[in-house]
């Protein structure tokens, strides 16, 4: 039953004559006959799908989808101070150009001879991430920082044969939940006991006394973040690493790579595994769809052997041509199935390519300058805000994000943020439910994109809303 009037631009063989010709060669009357040979009648859907009227015209489709999406507000038409795991940084035009290239946008699983450039771009991404963190191994990133941290925690478990991991109390609850899923429930054989390490209420930094009290010879890894979820830059990372190593634990550090032109690289303070998100490196936010989680480590066989990720290695042939391929691919679930190092799948390669472009554009100087710009602008904003009556910025050693407490105003963050929204501002993320001990607090994010005028406007508007 070939119907003659339906030809769709996405389906060349929907042309009735072509389909008839192919069916003739196959020796079948129609598709139904062929399906009936393969799928039992009782499982065949006997009715058309009940879906909205289609919009095959590209113009109609655009109008329809644009109409729906126009109901959104964005950080382009608002002044936004949201961060908390997804950040508004400037995305250079060249990054967009390269991420939009047909070849990179649509490639997938081609081999190293046909997709040479895709492999090289990923290798270069790994190389530049390696320079930022000071390490020699990285791979194709996973979905986000949270997933990378979850992978890293399980790597530590396998590396040490131990089943206990310390994480900071100050961590994004979403990230913590992802890690906890990787840690498995207590009934399961691969369970990792997750224990939190407290913080110094004065500085927001990790409480080293608590770390000393909680670490033991069963600890597989110590996971810390710098900057922390609340933006605090840890000052005692070297000591934290030494404490971890003294107990035979892996030292895992989560970092925001946009800091690394200014802040010391994880390798310098003894990190064994570094992880973090590449979204700040030239990838748009896409409401969280821009995230990508990198992992890096020293180039030692025992670390390489525990990665779940695809690791692209370089080589050279006798003609002096570079070639690329998968390092120890047997590790991965594509080969090892249930015996593999966890699982791997479609990842965030396009963002890795874009992040590579970003790092190449920025170079050492650009990375330092952007880090300094963020430091200056965020500290300028924090100072302005903290000068308002009843507003306190409790933790001063931060990068990009800072906690704003309004307990002394008697107001709550939710209504203050509503007031800001009415005035075109997305206020900082409300963290008062996530960390009740911090009172009515929100997390403000200031990046290189904010201008002085915008920061001044925040302070003025906040004052007005708080009145």
């Amino acid at each position: 039953m070939v119907e003659d009037d339906f030809v769709h631009p996405y389906i060349p063989n929907s042309v009735p004559d072509v389909k008839r010709e192919m069916l003739r060669e196959i020796g079948a009357q129609d598709a139904r006959e062929l399906y009936a040979e393969m799928i039992p009648d009782r499982l065949l859907l006997k009715r058309p799908l009940d879906l909205p009227e289609p919009l095959p015209s590209e113009l109609d489709l655009r109008r329809h989808v644009e109409g729906i999406l126009s109901k959104n507000g964005t950080c382009a038409d608002h002044l936004s101070f949201l961060g908390s795991g997804c950040w508004q940084h400037y995305v250079p035009a060249v990054c967009l150009e390269i991420m939009g290239r047909s070849e990179f946008l649509t490639a997938y699983a081609g081999g190293p001879y046909s997709d040479l450039g895709r492999f090289q771009a990923i290798f270069e991404f790994q190389s530049m991430i390696g320079e930022l963190v000071g390490m020699e191994v990285s791979g194709l990133p996973t979905y986000d920082w949270a997933g990378a941290a979850g992978n890293a925690v399980r790597m530590a478990q396998r590396l040490t044969g131990r089943n206990r991991v310390l994480i900071p109390r100050i961590i994004s609850p979403g990230r913590r939940s992802v890690i906890e899923n990787y840690a498995q429930p207590s009934q399961m054989p691969g369970h990792i006991e997750i224990e939190e390490v407290g913080y110094d209420p004065g500085t927001g930094a990790l409480d080293l006394g608590d770390l000393e009290a909680k670490i033991d010879e069963e600890t597989a890894g110590v996971y810390v973040e710098s900057p922390s979820y609340l933006g605090v830059v840890e000052t005692e990372l070297k000591e934290i690493g030494e404490i971890a190593h003294d107990h035979g634990a892996e030292f895992i550090v989560g970092v925001d790579p946009i800091t690394l032109g200014v802040l010391a690289p994880p390798a310098d303070y003894g990190a064994d595994i570094a992880c973090g998100d590449i979204q700040p490196l030239g990838v748009p936010m896409f409401a969280g769809g821009g995230l990508g989680g990198f992992i890096a480590s020293r180039d030692e066989e025992r670390y390489v052997g525990e990665y779940p990720l695809r690791l692209i290695s370089v080589t050279e042939n006798e003609r002096g041509e570079y070639g690329f391929g998968q390092c120890t691919f047997d590790r991965t679930s594509y080969i090892g199935r249930d015996k593999a190092k966890d699982w791997i799948g479609t990842s965030t390669a396009l963002w890795a390519i874009g992040a590579g472009v970003y790092m190449a554009l920025m170079g050492p100087r650009g990375m330092r300058e952007v880090g300094e710009a963020i430091l200056r602008k965020s500290h300028y904003a924090a100072r302005l805000v903290s000068e308002l009556d009843g507003v306190n910025v409790p933790f001063r050693g931060f990068f990009k994000e800072f906690l704003v407490n309004i307990d002394a105003t008697g107001r709550d963050v939710a209504t203050v943020n509503e007031g800001l929204l009415e005035r075109g501002i997305f206020g900082g993320k409300d963290v008062s439910l996530e960390f009740p001990e911090l009172g009515q607090s929100s997390l403000y994010c200031v990046t290189e994109m904010h201008t002085k005028n915008e920061l001044d406007r925040l302070a003025v508007t906040l004052e007005e809303v708080l009145k």
Binding site: L34, K71, N72, Y113, V137, G261, A264, S333, G345, T348
Partner: protein, 515 residues
């Protein structure tokens, strides 16, 4: 028009492009960063007065230093030596559904670029509407499932998500310690074994009988009081559809397990048969395969999960909900597994898939399925009679077929990896062989989805025929391929050698004794 396709004279671009670290010159820069106003600089003072000196970087990172045009040129060259999908006939990559991703959808997806996931819900109404409607209106109808999540960002991530749901379900019933086994089949995607294992389950893998499928009796023998559930692909990676799938889900349910359907590539089943009627409790679709979002060189993608009403409480948070004509994000779900990824997932992928499905509608989706299936039968006809190619297991296949070049290997010494390098010389992307283990020896698995014209299929088949003929007439030509690509053959042995592998330029230079 039947007839032999004329193979084109092809040569890939050759740029002999350096590694980016070898380019540029100290002091060059690719972009200037936004300026810091003088007043801000003055007020904030020295950097080491903002943060203590001990946390600051002492040596700048050894990043490349290039001007903007030079960075662009480098990456444009890399893109030119990437065959990708749109330049060629990429129907060889089975299990991946290499379909056309409509260009109009790129502009639509970009409308979400400046959205922050934590914006107030009132400013997210358009995005949430797309997420909700694509789930409930489209995927709900295509699968028969009730509730959806787009948080998992790939097919394997979705399988992992579903393993976490199974874990939560049995945990809530107090049976997790007992129900610790997942059953899968060896021709199901490897993630159906790896993800439950990562979630903590023991995995029992069923192997095929002579017809290519494990027997239903084998499943009956495998289920017991330890059974937590079934993870299965259908059709399996061989393209063979398990006709007793509803009996399989019944057996697993009777034993107290749940059934998770891997529909990563459901392309030839759209509007044909559904997860619900087959008795599944959950399923997932890869939007970057079946639903037209581009593969992105390997992501970002989306493994869209659908579950029955009964399992909806376990979905990861937040879940997109609709109340009246308003959309919202529900975080208050005490039985939820929590999160498998931060925020809402790759929402820009969902926007593209929504647009793709809207462009097709019910009839179009059914046409996608039928044409994909017919293309598969047609390609089989074209490959029949190519010397050296066989089709193990026999029987008609749905969307793809796992063929074998074992005969070719035995008769010429040329194996599938050699053929795969040589086919590139005809301007065709490398094809997919098979996941491991290679139960079908010297395998290859083309999937000629609806994107490919009859002429495309004819060309692909002709290229394979030519390479197989070359294997008989001039095996060295094939073994030493590629000859017309951007580079020549290299020895991959260093990739498994700790002394020589190098994942970064700094490691490569160190291992070669260079500074």
């Amino acid at each position: 028009m039947t007839g032999v396709a004329k193979l084109r004279r092809y040569h890939a671009p050759v740029w002999d492009e350096s590694i980016i670290h070898e380019l540029g010159r100290k002091g060059e820069r690719g972009i200037s960063v936004p300026r810091v106003e003088d007043e801000i600089t003055a007020q904030t003072g020295a950097i080491d007065s903002i943060l203590p000196g001990k946390v600051l970087r002492e040596t700048p990172p050894n990043l490349p230093e290039l001007s903007q045009a030079q960075v662009l040129r480098h990456y444009l060259r890399l893109s030119q030596v990437t065959l990708g999908m749109e330049l060629d006939i990429d129907l060889g990559v089975g299990t991946c559904t290499m379909k056309y991703s409509p260009k109009v959808n790129e502009g639509l997806a970009a409308l979400t670029a400046d959205i922050h996931p934590l914006q107030p819900e009132g400013t997210l109404q358009g995005l949430l509407e797309i997420l909700y409607e694509f789930g409930h209106t489209f995927l709900g109808e295509v699968s028969g499932m009730d509730e959806f999540s787009f948080q998992p960002s790939g097919g394997s991530a979705a399988a992992y998500n579903n393993a976490c749901i199974m874990r939560a379900y049995h945990g809530e019933n107090g049976e997790l310690e007992q129900r610790n086994e997942i059953i899968t089949t060896v021709f199901s995607h490897p993630c159906d074994a790896a993800c439950p294992a990562t979630a903590g389950f023991r995995v029992v893998t069923l192997y095929p009988e002579e017809d290519g499928l494990p027997s239903t009796d084998a499943l009956k023998a495998a289920v017991n009081e330890n059974t937590a559930g079934l993870f299965i692909t259908n059709p399996e990676d061989t393209g063979i559809f398990n006709r007793e799938i509803d009996e399989w889900t019944r057996i697993v349910h009777e034993a107290g397990g749940l059934c998770a359907y891997d529909q990563a590539n459901a392309n030839a089943l759209l509007g044909v048969t559904r997860a619900q009627e087959a008795g599944f409790d959950m399923c997932f679709f890869n939007l970057h395969k079946t639903f037209g979002s581009p593969h992105g060189s390997s992501g970002p993608g989306c493994g869209a999960v659908g579950v029955t009403e009964e399992l909806a409480p376990y979905l990861p948070v937040p879940v997109v909900v609709k109340e009246g004509d308003r959309y919202g994000l529900d975080y208050d779900r005490p039985r939820s597994i929590g999160r498998v990824r931060d925020f809402l997932g790759n929402v820009q992928v969902v926007v593209r898939s929504y647009a793709w499905a809207m462009a097709l509608g019910a009839r179009g989706l059914r046409e996608v399925a039928e044409v994909s299936m017919i293309n598969n039968q047609y390609l089989e006809k074209k490959l029949q009679g190519i010397k050296g190619v066989t089709k193990p297991f026999g029987g008609r296949r749905i969307d793809q077929i796992r063929y074998s070049l074992q005969t070719l290997k035995e008769e010429t010494g040329v194996g599938v990896d050699d053929v795969n390098r040589r086919i590139v010389d005809y301007g065709i992307q490398t094809f997919f062989t098979s996941h491991h283990p290679w139960l079908v020896p010297e395998p290859f698995t083309p999937e000629p989805c609806e994107t490919y014209s009859k002429a495309d299929i004819d060309y692909w088949a002709e290229a394979l025929r030519r390479v197989c003929e070359e294997a008989y007439s001039d095996p060295e030509l094939v073994r030493s391929a590629p000859h017309n690509s951007s580079m020549h053959i290299f020895d991959p042995s260093s990739f498994d050698d700790p002394e020589r592998w190098a994942m970064t330029w700094r490691a490569y230079k160190r291992k070669r004794g260079e500074k």
